[in-house]
Symmetry: C2
């Protein structure tokens, strides 16, 4: 596995590979790799000849400096896991390499970016769109593989790619969960045992909505959200938001539209903020 | 010359050409082609195997609906001139093709975009950056050729390309002038004889600054701007702005820095707004 830290070197290597007709699949990450990332790499392997993984804790998508500072980092372990999982090139730029002095550009997807995570984390998706756009210009991948745990991010980036006619096909990979059902997240390592129990209420709440829809035929989202809120609040976790929205527009729905609906949750346990979702 | 109106068809044709190793030079325009554009096409011809010209009156860069409505359009004449000048492909999309329902994405270069033209035309450069970024993804050119009459636009787009690591080399072409010295602009056809005389005060003012700097050694920008304002105001044209700025930061300078300075002017004559500049 090549480890590349400079943009120019990454471009040179990847353009050579492309000119030989080799296809590229790209997995953007912020490091602290876990089995969810490993699954993304597996999917990328199936898609293309060459798998590029980026590791970059992007400061512009953190609205909270403390969250940025506490974000887990372990480059050595990440590179080991990436190599074992079959990554061909790890792109690991510094902040200065990605945002040199005088950097002024941003990309944004209006409306979709200001709700849900965007409402709780102002500027978050502007940071995500900008860094992903830059990475796409550097890597020029045929495929980009993203986790569906970040459902809103997936919808926004699909919109960005479509609006700007970018030649990269997006693939969303279903959330990988730990044994107890907690969605794999780099932030899980920050949880105490008690906080972890509280965080698990998200998973229980999502299972509960499936039960209510499928076994009891409840489609009214007000009723479903009441059940979700009750499960979360009983656990002691602090609910940030619970919404049931269209997968395409991310607008709240009055009634579940089967196949096209997300239940989206965000909670705080102590200083850690976690998200989870399910598709109905 | 191929005339292509669909994004998918343009991509297909151009990717085939690229895969054969042919280089592409791109000239983005809003049509109403004049000798200034012809010069851009000539420069593009020298750069690459294939010249692509886009003709698209981009609504999102007009802050004034009346300006958009009055903007001159003559597709037939444009295509004739493009073919004669040696364009290989004219890309002429509709507004619906470029901005389908649900389009939400924008790109922006902060700071540089909010001053000068950006202050007079809020949102103008956001519109320019967004449409150029989209066109670059469609065309994937090796070179993009732009006129330096739009000096601020050139600086902003160079910044956009650098910040986002886009593999396109930018070339700026010096302003082409009509016989009397008026910079070629698609809007010149909208001028009455009297307005044209007033508009010419920009050219006289720019020549005056060169005279004052070169023959009289005046470098203090306050003194130079006073002379510029006097020439414009005497003509009866309404001065929008006159500024002497750094070519890189577009920040006002106290003293001319030879080689790195722009004198930038914008005036209104009747309902027509025109810009011009010179580099010192």
């Amino acid at each position: 596995m090549e480890v590349i830290r400079q943009i120019a070197a990454a471009k040179k290597l990847l353009r050579e590979e492309s000119s030989k007709g080799r296809s590229i699949a790209f997995v953007p990450t912020m490091g602290a790799l876990h089995p969810g990332h490993r699954r993304l790499i597996e999917v990328a392997r199936e898609k293309a000849d060459l798998v590029v993984l980026s590791i970059f804790v992007n400061p512009t998508q953190f609205n909270d400096p403390e969250d940025l500072q506490n974000y887990p980092r372990d480059e050595e372990a990440d590179l080991k896991m990436a190599e074992e999982a079959g990554v061909d090139m790890a792109f690991v730029p510094t902040v200065e390499e990605m945002y040199p002095p005088g950097f002024l550009t941003s990309a944004n997807v209006a409306r979709l970016s200001s709700k849900l995570e965007g409402a709780s984390r102002p500027g978050h998706f502007r940071g995500v769109c900008t860094v992903v756009l830059k990475l796409l210009h550097i890597i020029r991948p045929d495929y980009m593989v993203l986790g569906l745990k970040d459902a809103q991010q997936f919808t926004i980036l699909q919109h960005l790619l479509d609006d700007l006619c970018i030649d990269t096909e997006l693939t969303g990979v279903p959330t990988v969960r730990e044994r107890d059902g907690l969605a794999w997240s780099s932030r899980n390592v920050l949880l105490t045992k008690k906080q972890r129990r509280q965080a698990l209420s998200m998973y229980r709440a999502l299972k509960r909505t499936h039960f209510l829809v499928k076994k009891q035929g409840i489609l009214h989202t007000g009723e479903l959200l009441q059940a979700v809120r009750s499960v979360i609040q009983t656990s002691g976790a602090e609910l940030d938001y619970a919404e049931i929205v269209s997968r395409v527009t991310l607008e709240p729905l009055d009634h579940v539209e089967r196949g096209g609906t997300y239940v989206l949750l965000a909670v705080r346990v102590g200083k850690v903020r976690l998200i989870d979702n399910t598709r109905i």
